[in-house]
């Protein structure tokens, strides 16, 4: 232990070589430092407190229905948003800070400074949020905080609205898309139906049923056609083979006969289409029966010959001497029959064609049915999706309205920023003490540094350690002449010098407290 002390003392002796360097350093640092601290402008702090009410009434109501926003994350987002470039640019513009900057680079620097100088604190428990800002101009400090506060309140609402807006926009786009799809599906379906109009299952029953119906119908038509054909032949025969005159016993057919023939023909006609039970058929049979009865009762009197001209089919005019009502009737019936036959033939052809078509499509109809099923399914799916999105849009709109109307996160300014009257800093006495410490430290440092740069031997022990040669001893340093006065001796002078420095420090502290505003006004610095 003793040896270490001796070594330490040797080292200090080495440092002592540069004691005047150290003293000079201490004084220079101290004077410079004291001046700087003295001349520093006061800094004022503006502060605002905001209370955020997250215990909202609406939250339990809206749970599950509308989209919730976590307020804490919102706050974090807020603080990072608050110190973003656009916000700060707004602040420097609105508070007039940007007049301090002459060019772009200065402005950049201004924004950077602002970013570091604005202080945001959030105490999680009581949901209070504090914004502070320090500046040498108290008015400006207050303005900056006020602007920030305004931006803060505007933007928090803005975030939600934008979010909800974005959500609803998204949903609306989706809905539009699905609508489009729906319409397309409908179109496809419609077109499909149009293309395959005869093959649609719903229209006339099943495919095979349809086919069967057609076949039956054709058969019926054919039989009818045959009947008509037979009648026509019959009538022709009657017309051509028969003498135009009807007389004799047979002579001119009596009205009853004529009627009978007509009725019978009509009956035949009806029977092709209808059954015996048909009212018309029944009425006709009764008529025929009556007529036969009348004929049997001999009321049938032929009428005299009538001479009339008539135009035959080939344009000849022949005396209708041979025309009797029966003949006329026959001819009428013939043409009717012809017409009917033509009609039936057309129908038959048509239906046969349909049969052929159906038969040809025997393979495609099932496919068509399958396709139809698929299109229907597509359509259904689109419809459900569309309906779902509409539902969500509705829900989002409700939540948005809820947010807006109820203002879920309540903001209340607890303490608005006021123009500070008293400066909050800088803490001059503290800084002066720091300067003193630095001065003393610097002094020691300088001495140490110089000692390191210019090493020496201070004692025989050091010499013995450094050199491997015998050290025979030491010769003392003797001072010639009279002993020095105390003010010439180094050590006391250094001590006095340091003492003086400390006195200067104390004086500075006192001066800073008392004279500061006056002196500053004298020097023309800042606002009092």
């Amino acid at each position: 232990m003793g040896k270490q002390i001796v070594e330490l003392l040797d080292q200090l002796r080495g440092l002592w070589r540069f004691h005047w360097h150290a003293v000079a350093t201490a004084w220079i640092i101290a004077i410079m430092g004291f001046s700087i601290v003295y001349l520093m402008p006061d800094s004022y702090q503006a502060k605002a407190k905001v209370y955020v009410d997250t215990e909202s009434v609406l939250r339990p109501l809206l749970q599950g229905i509308a989209v919730q926003r976590d307020v804490t994350t919102q706050m974090n987002m807020m603080s990072s948003m608050l110190l973003s470039r656009p916000t700060l640019e707004r602040v420097i513009h609105e508070t007039g800070l940007d007049v301090r900057a002459q060019n772009i680079r200065d402005q950049e620097k201004l924004i950077e400074d602002l970013k570091t100088k604005i202080d945001l604190e959030s105490s999680g428990h009581s949901n209070t949020f504090t914004i502070t800002y320090k500046d040498k101009d108290p008015e400006l400090a207050r303005n900056v905080v006020q602007t920030l506060l305004d931006v803060f309140m505007e933007d928090t609402v803005g975030i939600k609205r934008t979010d909800a807006g974005m959500a609803s926009k998204f949903l609306q786009e989706q809905i539009k898309e699905y609508e489009k799809r729906l319409v397309e599906a409908e179109d496809r379906l419609a077109e499909f139906k149009k293309r395959n109009v005869g093959l649609m299952p719903g229209q006339s029953g099943d495919y095979y049923t349809r086919l069967q119906n057609l076949i039956t119908s054709v058969e019926n038509l054919r039989s009818r056609y045959n009947v008509l054909d037979g009648r026509r032949a019959e009538i022709r025969k009657q017309l051509s083979g028969e003498a135009p005159t009807f007389g004799g016993e047979k002579g001119m057919p009596s009205p009853i006969d004529e009627q009978l023939v007509q009725s019978r023909a009509r009956l035949d006609q009806l029977l092709v289409q209808y059954t015996d039970k048909h009212p018309e058929v029944v009425a006709l049979r009764e008529q025929i029966a009556r007529l036969e009865k009348d004929k049997a009762e001999g009321r049938n009197k032929p009428s005299g010959p009538v001479v009339m001209t008539t135009t035959t089919s080939d344009g000849r005019t022949v005396p209708m001497v041979n025309v009797n009502p029966v003949y006329q009737n026959l001819r009428l019936t013939l043409s009717q029959t012809d017409a009917e036959m033509a009609e039936v033939r057309t129908q038959m052809n048509d239906q046969e064609r349909q049969i052929a078509e159906l038969r040809s499509k025997v393979n495609t109809i099932p496919d068509v049915e399958a396709q139809l099923a698929q299109l229907n399914r597509d359509y259904e799916v689109n419809k459900t999706q569309h309906a779902a999105r509409l539902q969500r849009l509705e829900s989002a709109r409700i939540s948005g309205e809820a947010d807006e109307s109820a203002d879920q996160t309540k903001f209340k300014v607890v303490e608005p920023p006021v123009k500070p009257k008293l400066p909050v800093g800088p803490k001059r006495p503290l800084m002066l003490a720091a300067v003193l410490a630095v001065a003393l430290g610097g002094a020691c440092g300088v001495a140490f540094l110089l000692d390191q740069l210019r090493p020496c031997f201070t004692s025989t022990e050091a010499l013995k350690k450094a050199i491997n040669l015998p050290v025979l001893g030491s010769v003392s340093d003797v001072r010639y002449g009279a002993p020095l006065r105390w003010w010439r001796k180094s050590a006391p002078m250094v001590m006095w010098s340091m003492g003086l420095l400390v006195c200067v420090f104390v004086a500075s502290v006192i001066a800073v407290q008392r004279l500061s505003p006056a002196v500053r006004a004298l020097l023309g610095l800042g606002v009092a």
Binding site: V6, L9, D10, R13, G14, R17, R454, P455, C456, F457, T458, S459, T460, L463, A466, I467, L469, P470, V471, L472, G473, S474, V475, S476, D477, V478, R479, Y480, G481
Partner: protein
């Protein structure tokens, strides 16, 4: 008054009184015939062992004057310095006096006092060491000023005009005792530096110096030769001198010389040397202060 002064005054008194020496400081019977002439004036030749006589000339050494020019310690520190030099000289002398003359290095009786850089206090050390050795009972000392460029010692002794070392080296016909001077201090002889010669390093390196040293040793076996040489790093003379001298005393000034320089100087010296160091102008530390006050206390009692 210092011990030296007291001794001188006593001798004077004895000489004047003609009485046999009865002094507090006893003078032992020398093994060698002590030069009879105690006079302070120049002139008297003395009997040397080899019968050749010794130095013809003598110079006066005034202690008070030396003190005034700060060549030796001031009065208040005298005791301390004297003790310090005693501590230094005995380890130095012991091996020296035990050696046989022929050792390859000159005569083995030489000590070269040098340092790394100028202004370390070589001259002071050499002078005070010489004075200290001069009081030795078993040997005497020849102080040589080998610093031809800056002959400080020569100036101190006010012997600038006299012939010196360089003359001896150049002119082989010169006899040693024509150039070496006796001093008024018993046991102390002095050889001045001589005229300044640009070829001094070569002269010093030459064999002539070795011959001179051997001559001295032959004529006076008990004479220690102390060389005040220039700094090692400043000139080559020290190195040249070092060719012939084995014992080197390195003077290092405290709180001044950098260790690196010392190392460099030692490297420049070369191999095969017996090097010892002393710390000059050492600051007052614990060991120093205790040591000094004891003797001061003793002194006060005596007077």
């Amino acid at each position: 008054m210092s011990i030296v002064e007291k001794a001188i005054s006593k001798r004077r008194a004895q000489a004047a009184a003609g009485a046999p020496s009865q002094s507090a400081v006893r003078m032992p019977q020398p093994e060698i015939p002590v030069p009879e002439s105690e006079s302070l004036t120049a002139g008297a030749a003395s009997q040397m062992p080899d019968g050749t006589g010794g130095p013809k000339a003598q110079i006066e050494v005034d202690i008070a004057r030396l003190r005034s020019i700060e060549a030796i310690a001031p009065e208040y520190a005298d005791a301390r310095i004297t003790d310090e030099f005693r501590r230094i000289k005995w380890p130095l002398l012991r091996p020296l006096l035990a050696l046989e003359p022929s050792d390859g290095f000159g005569s083995g009786r030489e000590i070269m006092v040098t340092s790394s850089v100028p202004e370390e206090g070589k001259t002071f050390v050499t002078l005070n060491l010489a004075l200290s050795i001069a009081h030795e009972k078993d040997c005497t000392v020849l102080l040589v000023d080998a610093d031809v460029a800056k002959p400080k010692l020569t100036r101190t002794f006010e012997a600038q005009d006299r012939r010196g070392l360089t003359d001896l080296l150049v002119d082989k016909s010169l006899d040693l005792y024509d150039v070496i001077l006796k001093t008024s201090i018993e046991g102390l002889w002095f050889l001045p530096a001589g005229y300044s010669n640009p070829l001094a390093p070569e002269l010093l390196a030459s064999h002539r110096l070795k011959d001179i040293m051997q001559q001295i040793a032959a004529r006076d076996p008990r004479r220690v030769i102390l060389f005040d040489s220039p700094p090692l790093l400043a000139t080559n003379e020290a190195q040249a001198l070092g060719q012939h001298i084995r014992n080197v005393l390195m003077v290092i000034r405290a709180e001044s010389t950098a260790p690196a320089l010392v190392a460099e100087a030692l490297a420049a010296l070369g191999e095969g040397k017996q090097v010892s160091c002393i710390l000059n102008r050492a600051p007052r530390n614990l060991s120093n202060s205790y040591y000094g006050s004891y003797y001061n206390y003793g002194q006060n009692n005596k007077t």
